[in-house]
Subunit: 471 residues, 2 copies
Amino acid sequence: MTPEEFRRAGHQLIDWVADYRARIAALPVAPSTQPGEIRRQLPADPPDAPESFDAIFRDLDSIVMPGLLHWQHPSFFGFFPANAALSSVLGDFLSTGLGVIGISWQSSPALTELEEVTTDWVRRMVGLSGAWSGVIQDTASTATLVALISARERVTNYGLAAGGMQSAPQRLTVYVSAHSHSSVEKAALLAGFGRNNLRVVPHDADYAMRPNALDETIARDVAAGFLPCAVVATTGTTATTAFDPIDAIAEIAQRRGGLWLHVDAAMAGAAMILPEYRALWQGIEQADSLVINAHKWLGAPSDCSLYYVRDTQHLIRVFSTNPSYLQSAADAQVKNYRDWGIPLGRRFRALKLWCLIREQGVRGLQARLRRDLANARWLAEEIAAAPAWRVLAPVRLQTLCIRHEPAGLAGEHLDRHTLDWVERVNRSGRAYLTPAKLDGCWMVRVSIGAEMTELEDVRALWTLMRGEAER
Amino acid sequence: MTPEEFRRAGHQLIDWVADYRARIAALPVAPSTQPGEIRRQLPADPPDAPESFDAIFRDLDSIVMPGLLHWQHPSFFGFFPANAALSSVLGDFLSTGLGVIGISWQSSPALTELEEVTTDWVRRMVGLSGAWSGVIQDTASTATLVALISARERVTNYGLAAGGMQSAPQRLTVYVSAHSHSSVEKAALLAGFGRNNLRVVPHDADYAMRPNALDETIARDVAAGFLPCAVVATTGTTATTAFDPIDAIAEIAQRRGGLWLHVDAAMAGAAMILPEYRALWQGIEQADSLVINAHKWLGAPSDCSLYYVRDTQHLIRVFSTNPSYLQSAADAQVKNYRDWGIPLGRRFRALKLWCLIREQGVRGLQARLRRDLANARWLAEEIAAAPAWRVLAPVRLQTLCIRHEPAGLAGEHLDRHTLDWVERVNRSGRAYLTPAKLDGCWMVRVSIGAEMTELEDVRALWTLMRGEAER
């Protein structure tokens, strides 16, 4: 494709995306696709001869579009807000259009330095001190894996340079909560700790990790000859947006011999751009690492996970590689972000953060988040006041955990009722919700915060939910 | 940013990218940026109030552009071809514009099924049997880490579900070559094997792993009580594009108790779309996993690393997570790619592969690669025939390892000469080359294969190199 052909198809694409975003509210939020339905419509063999972009656009409309869940829809209340704000979309377009690669500072200096600047902007926006340095990873799953490998290497004094995890002198343990994200357990297993050395610390009635229980669990492990290595605390858990008490956990981690404290603020970290919410992660300065997904509520399109550490020298010592073809005279004076994580080659991801923050301004981002928080409070009050409806966990931010509990319904019958009405809501195409289990029973998560979601959309959701649950 | 504002700025962006690609040959390939130069031009604090997109475009031109190495330039001969073909760029734009996320099949069925179809297209294009299934990872670094963790878990019978790597019954060993990519060593260390358990197998005069040496090394380890776990063979090494003999290595891996065989075909895997080159990875069907970067020579913009495995059930058992909020009724009948790698959330990466293959057709892609191979042969012949110039390794594909060796110059003096003339070439802005060490001495890699590179660009490079080296 020549630049002139790109220009023609590109303008068509811009209109296509603009039209999509403009008409998205009129689309059913969720598809009714059956397994294999998309695949069956596509040829099993790649085309031998070139096809026109017009043909691709046609298949996009007729085959791909009916198979999408529309995460940018104003009535998307599922999973988490994965906003792809249009200014940030343009930043990502620039990255792809430029087609430059970061494998060292030298391989595109602006790619590295804009990443330094924009991750530092977000650091300031969430109120972290200058002791922290940031890097863009793909997802929080990866960032947490990086954190746990870093923890493993600190406690083994860089065992990777010798006998590795398989020569750990004592069994290393990791501490999480039952409400930690699934990626935390996964990271611990991938990093080689083993499920037997993963401790699930009890939580309190609000689903936050109990510091006393953490302290006792660590003490028991020490007595039994284990070497406590890392604790992962969550700032805004997935199911209920609970906040583990960072300050108390940090104090214990420190007192118990300096466990690595990683804070998973993947979703709720965005709220820290609002000074009035920062008490929720009090003690954060005592953590060793933390992750905030700019590609969730904040508005950058995936993937753009911000990983912050205090000890950059340690991170680099664990993750560095330095073959001759990557060395340059500038190495002593610059950051080589390949040494800050797993991948060598890196996209110019900072552009989407740069465009987002500049086009919105910090005030614009704050205003949108405050709108969502007000909408969540409004819905929480409505639900709490409605007969047979319950809000099951404190509404700390923009996610509600709710259930419709008709008199006389319990156990499996209540579960069936819950899953049934959510399925009716989702099948209606007029909203999308994610059910999840809480204390062993199904409930419904209402995650408010899609960029286009206004109070009227939340009102419409409430009407729809009542209609489907109470019918 | 509203859809209408996006439309306006988006059209401007398309023209900007089209103009960039159209005029790129006139730009200096490499920047002359000093460390910190970009950062110093940007405000340390994020803007409080919104800014216009026009202001962003202005800074893009005046601050960012002068700090880029232009990987899409026709005179880019550095590192490896990282083509961002414009049809594929549009596919990536669609992904970002749609803003949908893959965390399960249900979270956007088309995202998963198009990934199944397009990875299967590439499988057919490179001549792999139907025994292989593909998934898109970000980079080969990550894919190799996934492979080595998979190897670890197979030999320990899923130790991650019990005591983990730290309870491995015997010391597990991994076999690589000194010419394996730096990410292979890194993956082994991150996976917990430890440097002491990483064996560097000797290579032959053509820089390919010596099967006999591999066999002997394994035998020695077995005798010493180690448990050989995995071997990583390379189809096209980074420095010299050497091809480890897959068939012989596979036979040894099998005979020695079933070591995991991972094949790193990150760069050269693209060449396997040419049937006449497939003898170079003969035996590939006996491997357990392999990686091909579609984001290199093939033309998809980064990141788009294709990871193929034969035993998908094993992969899923190692990498799966299944919290309640990700479960759906469709799970038994679909692929959930979150269980095929590290990240949970995934971009709609298949779109860029789909657009690339359709717009180019297999024939179009083949023709471009054959052009590059012919250009490399032309240059190799020129250099071999020129006095004082040497081609240092067999030119298997599109990368040449060369040196200008004036009479009487050796050792450090020759190294200095080599680094000096390459620096003069790079500083001229008229081409970009990567020096690297081979057998302890600096040489120059000429990697031919940027999408816009024609024979006349290679001719110009040869004239430039002679001018700078021989002056």
